[in-house]
């Protein structure tokens, strides 16, 4: 299987090493699912795209140029960060679903990036359910799911370079736990959506594309 997301800077370097929090690192990676995600939206007139990551200007330009879409930015890192800072993990699921419930109208595409890695099981299920509800029929959802649970004090911004290339910029963030979910569990979380593409990457991240029938 090809290394679609090469997080390590050099071939052979240990995957997902502990990084000093003061460092920002960037790696270029390749995606197999994002071209299909874009293709699914490209044939639609004025699609609506929901981005759950921190706002990235390059992505706004990228998707705007290619899709002439309407983008909704709902930075869930902001919500997760608030819960960590307030030490109120029991409120996470509610806060996430409240935030998604404010999204008006169905959306044609959802970019989850790696947000599910930061969610406990209950919150992940609640968010997946909300996203399934807000996704329009025929809509697509893209996510990256880590397969190794570990503490982390970084987060990653994913910056589109082309339809198949993504720059991954890892930067210091709050101390958080990264969770890992089995493939079957991910599929069950998004029950009602069909898996279009699911690739286990060499860095032990699973890239998955779902479609709502």
């Amino acid at each position: 299987m090809s290394p679609l997301f090469n997080w390590a800077a050099k071939k052979g370097e240990p995957v997902a090493p502990e990084r000093p929090a003061s460092l920002i690192t960037e790696n270029l990676s390749t995606s197999r699912a994002l071209p299909k995600f874009i293709a699914a939206l490209a044939h639609q007139s004025a699609p609506v795209l929901l981005d759950l990551g921190p706002v990235v200007g390059a992505n706004v330009s990228f998707f705007g140029d290619r899709l002439a879409c309407k983008m909704l930015i709902e930075d869930l890192h902001e919500t997760i960060g608030g819960v960590i800072t307030e030490r109120a993990p029991e409120t996470l699921a509610t806060r996430l679903t409240d935030r998604i419930s404010r999204v008006t109208g169905p959306v044609d595409g959802v970019l989850c990036w790696d947000v599910f890695d930061y969610l406990d099981r209950g919150s992940a299920r609640a968010l997946a359910s909300s996203l399934r509800d807000v996704l329009a029929a025929g809509g697509v959802l893209h996510g990256l799911f880590g397969t190794v649970a570990q503490p982390a004090s970084t987060r990653t911004r994913f910056i589109m370079q082309s339809e198949t290339a993504v720059k991954c910029r890892t930067e210091p963030w709050l101390a958080a736990s990264r969770h890992a979910y089995q493939t079957g569990e991910i599929t069950r979380m998004f029950e009602g959506l069909t898996v279009v593409e699911s690739v286990l990457l060499q860095n032990r991240t699973r890239e998955t594309l779902f479609r709502k029938r």
Binding site: A46, V55, V56, G57, V60, S61, G64, A68, C69, K70, M71, L72, I73, D75, E78, R102, T104, G105
Partner: protein, 131 residues
Amino acid sequence: MNIGKSVIIKGELSGSEDLTIEGQVEGKIELRQNLLTIGPNAKIKAQVFAKTVVVEGQVHGNISAGERVDIRDKGVVEGNLAAPRVAIADGAHFRGSIDMQTGGAKAVDASDARPAAAPQPVAAGPTAVAR
């Protein structure tokens, strides 16, 4: 034309020349054929309509531009954007939606769903208060 940082305007601000705001505006700003620059010290709570909008300060409200919205690295926008071209620099804070489907001038209006920070209604006509 500049609006200095000690100036507070509550009401409707419109014109036909380029404008830089460093002060505070609450209400509505219309410069449909011109460049509007929200300076680093500016705090805006308004619906904004202009040809091009450059944000270096804070805007709470929807922005609609005929050509372009440019949020610089220290810029803060909580509201919906409508413009054919939108640029958001690294470090900028943005919360809302971005509509690049249309020409912008008409896209984000009072009827648009979910304005992130709709300003309170204000009396028509500008009221400038120098501090």
